[in-house]
Assembly symmetry: C2
Homo-oligomer: 101 residues x 2
């Protein structure tokens, strides 16, 4: 029997699980989905999604640590945008898939 299966090393496993963990929370999904259409400040995100500023900030830190989002500063305002085409593509792909029942 031929074996096309390659066991996963710890590092790969960690990266993959972290990536999907980022996409496993409804709040983070909504934030990333919003950011797929452009850049928004923390307050804008909170208002659009009816979330507390603190909640958004915490989740943005999470996404920032995984380099899924980035920001630029303009005065006191931080404009966040997505920073990982691959992950965003997977998310949008899965959203479409889910919408087809």
């Amino acid at each position: 029997m031929e074996e096309l299966y390659e066991p996963l090393d710890e590092e790969t496993l960690f990266i993959v699980s972290q990536t999907f963990k980022a996409l496993s929370d409804p709040t983070r999904i909504r934030i990333l989905h919003l950011l797929s259409s452009g850049e928004f400040s923390v307050t804008e995100i909170a208002n659009r999604l009816s979330l507390l500023q603190s909640t958004v900030s915490h989740q943005l830190r999470f996404l920032k640590n995984l380099r899924l989002v980035k920001y630029r500063r303009e005065g006191t305002t931080l404009y966040y945008s997505h920073d990982d085409e691959h992950v965003l593509h997977i998310l949008e792909q899965t959203i479409r898939h889910a919408r087809e029942h």
Copy 2:
């Protein structure tokens, strides 16, 4: 400014988050990755991945509920295999992406 952003309804959000939650745990990732190469019994999975039979069984139930795996019976043995090409494709895609650093 044109708006290409479509808010996510609750149901879609739930399906998407559940799907990614399934892929966010190292044990489930290893199981699904193994099943990408064929069908295996619960005991085989446990042995190959050095996991307790109980752990594997619990996680298979989780994956079964989300219809990510299916099984066929042969005597007392249950052979599990994957049951969602789309999700498996996303997983393998992300594994390859992670392996490229």
